[in-house]
């Protein structure tokens, strides 16, 4: 990574949105490819993700870095399209029906966006039919579901059943998470992956889309 892209990555890690915009614009002007600029930003977010996992940075730093990333993406989005750079993948995300908690789900969204994934956020209290409609409309690689309550985590199974009944199960990978959820539960309801935290969810999603 050259010096300019390194500065871009560092500014992103510090959450300095205006600097990220300026460096991204300068990089475009100097002829850097959209892919290289994107990779520099993803490197920055990846470093933030690791620090978050290690408790070296906290939720707000992730939020601020993700917002800075969005500023940079605004600069390069048209170039990514022109240069035929595809997103790392698409995720449909939501907190399941009956559950109005959104903090964990929002963190997952931010970390996923910060990892170059396109996220369609359906919000909270999302019924199975809304997940189905979003799959049919957006053709995601992954459906990710969150639940904070033991009483609502069972609704994840209903969503998976609805996806299967609709004949869409082989088109998407399914991820689940939330305080009461664990790997055994994920297995028992037929999900592909359980992620214990937001940073892991983002890397898990990329691994599911492009196994290393």
């Amino acid at each position: 990574m050259n010096e300019l892209l390194e500065k871009l990555s560092v500014s992103l890690q510090k959450g300095k949105a205006a600097e990220v915009t300026a460096y991204a614009q300068q990089a475009v002007a100097e002829g850097e490819t959209a892919k290289d600029i994107l990779d520099a930003m993803l490197t920055g977010m990846s470093i933030i993700g690791v620090k978050f996992k290690n408790n070296e940075v906290f939720v707000p730093e992730v939020l601020i870095a993700a917002r800075a990333m969005n500023s940079g993406m605004d600069v390069i989005k048209p170039l990514l399209i022109n240069q035929g750079v595809e997103s790392a993948g698409k995720v449909v995300l939501g907190t399941v029906k009956g559950d109005l908690h959104d903090i964990g789900k929002n963190l997952v969204r931010m970390m996923m966006v910060g990892n170059g994934l396109e996220v369609v956020d359906l919000g909270v209290n999302v019924p199975p039919e809304k997940f189905i409609a979003a799959i049919e409309e957006n053709h995601p690689d992954i459906v990710a579901m969150s639940a904070l309550l033991t009483t609502t985590m069972g609704n994840m199974k209903e969503v998976i059943q609805a996806i299967t009944d609709r004949g869409l199960r082989d088109q998407v990978k399914i991820m689940v998470g939330g305080a009461p959820v664990n790997a055994d539960f994920a297995l028992s309801i037929g999900a592909d992956k359980y992620s214990p935290d937001a940073a892991t969810a983002a890397t898990d999603a990329r691994d599911l889309i492009q196994p290393s």
């Binding site: 939720v59 707000p60 009483t151 009461p180």
Partner: protein, 336 residues
């Protein structure tokens, strides 16, 4: 020893006979909680005023301008840090009616010798993210700390007002001020502990000093993993810390670090143990908690978690948890 003496001696490490118990939902225990009521200026005449029951808007807009749906905040009044920030007005803690009926409500628990605790939740951080939105709050704390400090000063003054009202209307009969701020995620603090120390700790200190100056104790509820600021809570003079997820910590080493320095009000873990319904696990956890978090001289209150449906636990599990806390409650043998 009556309930008041049991709790007081646990809080002050003055050799109580047993650990304290708070299982109000089951009609058991040493503690009686009272709640501020809807002030007169908001009433429409249909209200039943009773300080034994919590007044909270579950659907609609509350007096802070926060919109609620099924008990979850969905809309916040401070939508920007310009116009709506300038216009925002904190409710008056001294508005008439909040302590209406205090004499009636206290007569029975006083006769029973209970420890009386006033619940005034959403101390600083929780109120802040209700009035400003959660993500905005987290970002503002880092990017607009001066404006956040202005809000925090107003919020702590509200709570100080509630303490002073409690002292005025309670006339010494309210033993404990009880407030809340969830600070932890599953793994860590929500924000950098240094920023917590800079922005929040001094305001807590101001509140706690006023509580103590009126002869009351502070019980502070906080969810999540808050180990990085446990020493700060102790330094601030928090008397009782309420923890619902003891399994977020290594119970033994956590107890070895902090038992005897603060009184724990602790429930059987509401994420893992209680919802499991596994009686062996529940009893083992209670045994472990009383062994490591209580000292022979006090420092522990076993407590309930009442929103059983939310966590997928059964009434019978809570009853069993209570029985376990009773079984392992004796402290006199540990001093022998």
């Amino acid at each position: 020893m009556n309930g008041y003496e049991i709790i007081l001696k646990n809080v002050t490490f003055a050799d109580p006979d047993r650990i304290g118990l708070r299982f109000t939902y089951l009609g058991e225990g040493d503690v009686f909680r009272i709640y501020p009521q809807k002030p007169v200026y908001l009433r429409d005449g249909s209200e039943k005023i009773n300080m034994a029951t919590k007044w909270k808007v579950n659907d609609g807009t509350d007096e802070w301008g926060v919109e609620w749906q099924k008990g979850h905040s969905l809309g916040y009044p401070i939508t920007d840090l310009e116009e709506s920030f300038e216009k925002f007005v904190v409710p008056d803690p001294r508005a008439p009616g909040r302590f209406e009926g205090i004499d009636e409500v206290l007569s029975r628990p006083e006769a029973q010798g209970k420890w009386i605790q006033l619940n005034s939740p959403y101390c600083l951080f929780e109120r802040l993210h209700e009035i400003r939105g959660f993500e905005n709050t987290l970002i503002d704390i880092y990017t607009e700390p001066e404006k956040i400090e202005i809000l925090l000063d107003k919020l702590i003054d509200f709570q100080i007002g509630m303490v002073e009202e409690a002292a005025l209307h309670g006339k010494g009969r309210i033993h404990c001020f009880d407030t809340t701020d969830d600070w932890g995620t599953q793994q860590s603090l929500m924000i950098n502990p240094e920023i917590w120390r800079e922005l929040f700790k001094p305001r807590y200190k101001k509140l706690i000093d006023v509580i103590h100056s009126h002869g009351m104790y502070l019980r502070f509820h906080t969810d999540g993993n808050i180990e990085t600021i446990m020493d700060d809570f102790i330094e601030l003079g928090v008397d009782i810390i309420n923890i619902h997820q003891p399994r977020l910590f290594d119970i033994k080493s956590f107890g070895e670090k902090y038992a005897g320095k603060i009184c724990f009000e602790v429930a059987v873990d509401i994420q893992e143990t209680l919802p499991s319904g596994d009686k062996v696990r529940i009893e083992e956890e209670v045994k472990e908690l009383t062994e490591y978090w209580a000292t022979p001289h006090g420092g522990m209150i076993g407590c309930e978690y009442r929103y059983l449906e939310d966590i997928g636990a059964k009434h019978e599990d809570l009853v069993f948890a209570f029985e376990c806390f009773k079984k392992y409650s004796d402290l006199t043998k540990r001093r022998a």
